[in-house]
């Protein structure tokens, strides 16, 4: 039997903008996933540790403070250090177009910008996690 997808929704750094992350967390939960929300002001280390302890399939990182070019790569780096190659890293927030390619190179698979629909995010997480598990979505 397939176990439900487990997602850690996270806020790293000092950013307090949390409307988006909570709406997405709620939508993923309503879509049948197990969602852990870290709350705001987490260190990258704490985010990765939570994902490890929760045996998460995915980390969804939200950032609207402009610190994405440090915090996203830092989370990706820590995930590599911990051998979490099978865990999906995606994100969303106020991220300028020009920064997205760079973040993808660091291992952030997908960035959702303002205006993304919940339906789109749910579908993406289902498919991307299934791919990593080697299962059909």
């Amino acid at each position: 039997m397939k176990r439900p997808i487990r997602v850690v929704m996270a806020k790293a750094g000092l950013d307090g903008h949390d409307r988006g992350v909570k709406v997405v967390a709620r939508a993923l939960r309503d879509a049948g996933m197990e969602v852990i929300y870290t709350g705001v002001h987490q260190t990258p280390e704490a985010v990765v540790e939570t994902a490890l302890q929760e045996d998460a399939d995915a980390i969804g990182l939200s950032l609207l403070s402009g610190a994405h070019n440090y915090l996203f790569p830092r989370v990706a780096e820590l995930m590599k250090e911990k051998g979490m190659d099978d865990v999906l890293l995606f994100g969303g927030g106020i991220i300028p177009e020009d920064d997205i390619e760079g973040l993808k190179k660091h291992g952030v698979e997908r960035i959702f910008q303002p205006g993304a629909s919940l339906e789109e995010i749910i579908a993406y997480v289902r498919i991307a996690v299934a791919k990593r598990r080697g299962q059909p979505a």
Partner: protein
């Protein structure tokens, strides 16, 4: 959640029957037979049901003398001043701050040269959270979302060549508000400007931090004591200063409805007054220094109604609870900012139009000052060109539209007065609920307003997904073609390194004896719950950093952690 009576609008209310006379009703039925109504249910952005027509029937028992009065007269529905914009226009106050103190000082001079009439400072995240720029959690954040101010050294540069005795300055800072305000006072003192001449506002609204904005430093009760401490000092030493800006803006941006924004903000205000009075302050001395700050969103009439209702409710509640003899204690004076959350990254030029409509609503709502957002703010902090356009939007409304030439021109509109009444009714339901819990501090500690907002924001997102609420460029009229690209502001990555260098230098060069004594006195005052503002001022003069002073407060009062509701 069954059995819970929710005062908010998360559960849509049924459409109201509207009796407009049998003849008109028949004509209406016939008309919609031919042209069916565009929606199954009409409601405002915040889900107040909207009927097809409003008449005197919708205002049963409406007494204009009692409900509206005259501008500048109780209950101030029509405005806090008798002449409103015929004498002086609202203050055009653009919120600005990015990079280093030098960068932001240059932007301030640019804005003043282009006609802003008040300054408003945006600090970066480390400053807002009371952390030094070299704190591990500050990495990547220095100068990003606002200007980095770590000590008096930065404050001097930030306001260099700005006439502090003439321009009023607003500072959006909360947890460490007193510490940063003290640095501003110390900078003015060095330039020989007496405190009595300084005008401005510190946001200093801790309650909405737990409710919405999440820039807290200590738990709720000690945070309230810090706010009351600034009331005491301000009323005595800096009489032209607003020592709190009770803010609905962040509550709304966190996803609340207009009714929740209105209710939670005014109830926050009433809680500050309660704490001030309990601490022995005279309501006639400090309540006139309370100012407000509201969001102004897309639903035009709902927003105008919100501002009018806010004035009426504040006057009535203050009168009922405290009977102040100083009339100024009854006035709900407010700043407004257009809704950042309403802007879209898609088709960004549409944002110019949204901002114009929202700004118009704020003016027709009778705001005292206004910030208009820039079209590029879903990408980054605004460029100089984008800010200029946002400011010009206000200037066009002020000088070309004519809406400020008479006071409260929309008064008496059946629909608007109906909505204004609805806003007041909704406030009363929340008031009874929260008063029943023992007030806002108790409600916040229970997570009540936090959860109400989460419900409302999720409900709204669902309405967008279902296309019950339309956002142009998002769920209707979506462009497949390449989006219009707007230029965005980039922050120099060197800012963080230079800021750390400057703070290191400040620490190395300051008088260690004076610094140590100031810090020890601060710790002693915090521990004994004595007056803190004089200590923060001495710490500023002794070149103590924001982060180290906040650390003292955390050592004494403890820290607050996000309960992580969702």
């Amino acid at each position: 959640m069954s059995g819970v009576v929710r005062p908010g609008p998360a559960v849509p209310a049924p459409a109201e029957p509207h009796s407009k006379g049998p003849q008109w009703q028949a004509q209406y039925e016939a008309a919609i037979e031919t042209h069916p109504e565009r929606k199954a249910r009409f409601s405002t952005l915040s889900d107040i049901p909207v009927g097809p027509l409003y008449t005197a029937d919708d205002l049963p028992g409406f007494d204009p003398e009692r409900e509206l009065g005259r501008p500048g007269e109780f209950p101030y529905t029509r405005g806090v001043y008798p002449s409103m914009y015929r004498g002086r226009l609202w203050t055009m106050r653009q919120f600005a701050g990015f990079g280093s103190a030098e960068d932001t000082n240059a932007r301030f001079h640019y804005l003043l040269a282009h006609g802003v009439t008040g300054l408003s400072t945006a600090f970066d995240m480390p400053t807002l959270m009371g952390r030094d720029c070299d704190d591990p959690l500050s990495r990547g954040e220095v100068g990003r979302e606002g200007v980095a101010v770590s000590s008096l050294a930065d404050m001097r540069i930030l306001f260099d060549k700005i006439p502090l005795g003439e321009v009023t300055t607003s500072m959006t800072i909360n947890g460490p508000a007193s510490i940063v305000w003290a640095m501003y006072l110390a900078a003015a003192e060095e330039r020989g400007i007496p405190f009595s001449k300084l005008g401005g506002t510190i946001q200093n609204d801790c309650l909405k931090e737990y409710i919405a904005q999440r820039e807290w430093i200590v738990p709720v009760k000690p945070a309230m004591e810090l706010v009351v401490d600034s009331f005491r000092y301000g009323a005595r030493e800096v009489p032209k200063w607003n020592t709190v800006s009770i803010s609905g803006y962040h509550i709304r941006e966190a996803g609340s409805t207009a009714q929740q924004e209105l209710a939670f903000t005014l109830l926050d205000g009433l809680e500050y007054v309660k704490w001030g009075v309990a601490a022995g302050l005279d309501v006639n001395d400090f309540a006139p220094h309370l100012s407000f700050f509201f969001d102004v969103h897309n639903d035009f009439f709902e927003e105008v109604a919100k501002f009018r209702a806010a004035r009426r409710i504040w006057a009535r509640e203050m009168e009922r609870r405290y009977h102040p003899t100083n009339e100024k204690a009854l006035l709900m004076r407010t700043h407004a900012q257009t809704a950042g959350v309403s802007l879209t990254a898609q088709q960004p030029y549409n944002n110019v139009v949204r901002v114009a409509l929202q700004a118009l609503a704020a003016v027709l709502g009778g705001t005292q000052s206004l910030h208009t957002n820039s079209l590029d703010e879903t990408y980054a902090l605004p460029t100089e060109e984008a800010v200029t356009l946002a400011l010009r939007t206000q200037q066009v409304i002020a000088h070309e539209s004519g809406v400020g030439d008479t006071v409260d021109p929309l008064a008496g509109s059946y629909y608007l007065e109906h909505l204004t009444n609805e806003m007041e009714r909704s406030f009363e339901r929340y008031r009874d609920e929260i008063d029943g819990m023992g007030g806002m501090v108790a409600a916040v500690e229970r997570g009540y307003p936090q959860r109400e907002i989460i419900e409302a924001s999720f409900h709204f997102q669902q309405q967008v997904e279902e296309k019950e609420k339309i956002i142009v460029g998002i769920n209707k009229y979506v462009s497949d073609a390449d989006e219009a690209k707007v230029p965005t502001l980039a922050i120099d990555p060197e800012v963080e390194r230079k800021q750390i260098e400057r703070l290191t230098e400040v620490r190395a060069k300051r008088d260690p004896g004076r610094w140590r004594e100031a810090m020890e006195r601060l710790r002693a005052a915090a521990t004994s719950h004595s007056e803190l503002m004089p200590e923060f001022l001495e710490c500023a003069r002794a070149m103590a950093g924001v982060g180290e002073q906040v650390q003292v407060l955390k050592d004494v009062y403890g820290e607050y952690h996000d309960p992580g509701y969702f």
